[in-house]
Amino acid sequence: GPGTMSAPGAAAGGGRSGAADWGGFEDNMQGGGSAVIDMENMDDTSGSSFEDMGEMHQRMKEEEEEAEGEAVAGEEEDGEFLGMKGLRGQLGRQVADQMWQVGKRQASRAFSLYANIDILRPYFDVEPVQVRTRLLESMIPVKMINFPQKIAGELYGPLMLVFTLVAILLHGMKTSDTIIREGTLMGTAIGTCFGYWLGVSSFIYFLAYLCNAQITMVQTLSLLGYGLFGHCITLFVTYNIHFHSLFYIFWLGVGGLSTLRMVAVLVSRTVGHTQRLILCGTLAALHMLFLLYLHFAYHKVVEGILDTLEGPNMPPFQRVARDIPIVSNAVLNTTAKAIALTL
């Protein structure tokens, strides 16, 4: 009733007078200025508040020096007017100093705005134990697909796995005894691995958006990145043991396990049979085909370069024999026949 109406009015009135007090206080602070402006620029994910305090102190100090400098410059201009040449050099230095301060502050503000790596900091907040657990979990398919599975939005593990894959690819070049143009191969390796990770993640995220799956971009990057762990293991083993049927076993076994894990996680986050089929089918196909590509295409890339560079020195049958031994050819044929029979 009326009693309750008056209370907010009194509170508002009290608040307004309080605001007037606060306004006055703010005016006092405005000369220093930085405390109010700092709040706007403060990033939620910034580091400890000690850094911000330090920055505030620094700005206050700079404002002090600038104010002092202005006061002195005012004095200096009067001096110059009177024709004291010795002071002109000091005035020049003062102005240069001020320009430097202003320029530095502007540059550091622009830098901290655009090149703020603190944006990525929360995605690297992991412990070694967590990374190890996630690596092992990436090979174990989950059974519960009715409940959305948790995906850690972490980028350290996936990034390290991509670099490890690049290193393994380069190591594979060494063991295949064909190093011709290291530079081109290295660029290709880095481009392939990063292209796959970023490109396929974006594509899967786009498909997930179309299929109404509950997954964010960072989570797709993380999921696919950890899926590369299977690729790393497979390639590491098969680049050292050149046996084609061993590669197929690893391709199906290890590659299949990591694919199943990713598929299960995606299925748990998608509703609807068609959507699940589209999303998981695409991911499985791309994942398995990438491993196949990495194993075979690099032999061909190397051989292609051999072709163009070594010219007529290398008889062709030697190259073919090195890559496709007769044993695995027979295995390939029997496998194909077996598959044809079952279909």
Binding site: N28, M29, M60, E65, E68, V72, R181, E182, G183, L309
Partner: protein, 217 residues
């Protein structure tokens, strides 16, 4: 925050005290004196600083000299010499070796930048250029390994020479790892050292791979 209120300067508070010109103290005097000194002195001073850091890398004690006065001269010299030595390994004489030099250069600097950004994101207390400086200087053992490999390859390229080169490169790789982790791992929170060491391992592994698989023509 209460303490900061009296630090601010507003218009209605008069500025009291002596208005001495602080300019002279702010612009360092040694800048003017080092401009006047002979060039030889400047170069010798920088060379001595670089040589001191080389010694620190070869005998990694836990000193902070490498971190305190960082400079990028040493890494540049090492990177250029390593890239030059690796350049002659192109099989085709028509190939001018240009891309290879650039590739080595880019890989070393790009790798160092990635490791630095990674260590900063993991909460490291070391600054950007300090980390670049340490990683660049710790390429020194691998440059020495490259020299040794070239000399061994002059003698011949068979299985024995490959084994010798393998041992030398692996030893130098270990030395680089030890040296860089001695300087960099301390700046990390103690439970995350492994997370920082692993990319350094990959980085030096790739460089060692390039050195080991070098075949002159």
């Amino acid at each position: 925050f209460a303490g900061l209120a009296d630090v601010s300067i507003s218009e209605d508070i008069p500025v009291e005290g002596e208005i001495t010109v602080p300019v002279g103290s702010r612009s360092p005097d040694e800048d003017y004196s080092t401009l006047d000194e002979p060039v030889k002195d400047t170069i010798m001073r920088d060379l001595k600083a670089v040589a001191k850091k080389f010694v620190h890398v070869m005998y990694p004690k836990k000193s902070s000299a490498l971190l305190r006065d960082w400079d990028l001269w040493g890494p540049l010299v090492l990177c250029v010499s390593l890239a030059l030595m690796l350049q002659g390994g192109s099989a085709d004489s028509k190939d001018d070796g240009g891309p290879q030099f650039a590739e080595v250069f880019v890989i070393i600097w790009f790798g160092a930048v990635v490791i630095t950004v990674n260590s900063k994101l993991l909460g490291g207390t070391i600054s950007f250029f300090q980390s670049l400086c340490v990683l660049g200087y710790c390429v020194l053992p691998l440059t020495v390994a490259m020299l040794v490999c070239r000399l061994v390859l002059l003698a011949g390229s068979g299985t024995v020479s490959f084994i010798i080169r393998l041992i030398v490169v692996v030893a130098m790789f270990g030395w680089s790892m030890l040296a860089s982790t001695a300087f960099l791992a301390d700046s990390q929170p103690p439970n995350r050292k492994a997370l920082v060491v692993y990319p350094i391992f990959l980085f030096y592994f790739v460089i060692s791979w390039m050195i080991l698989t070098f075949t002159p023509q």
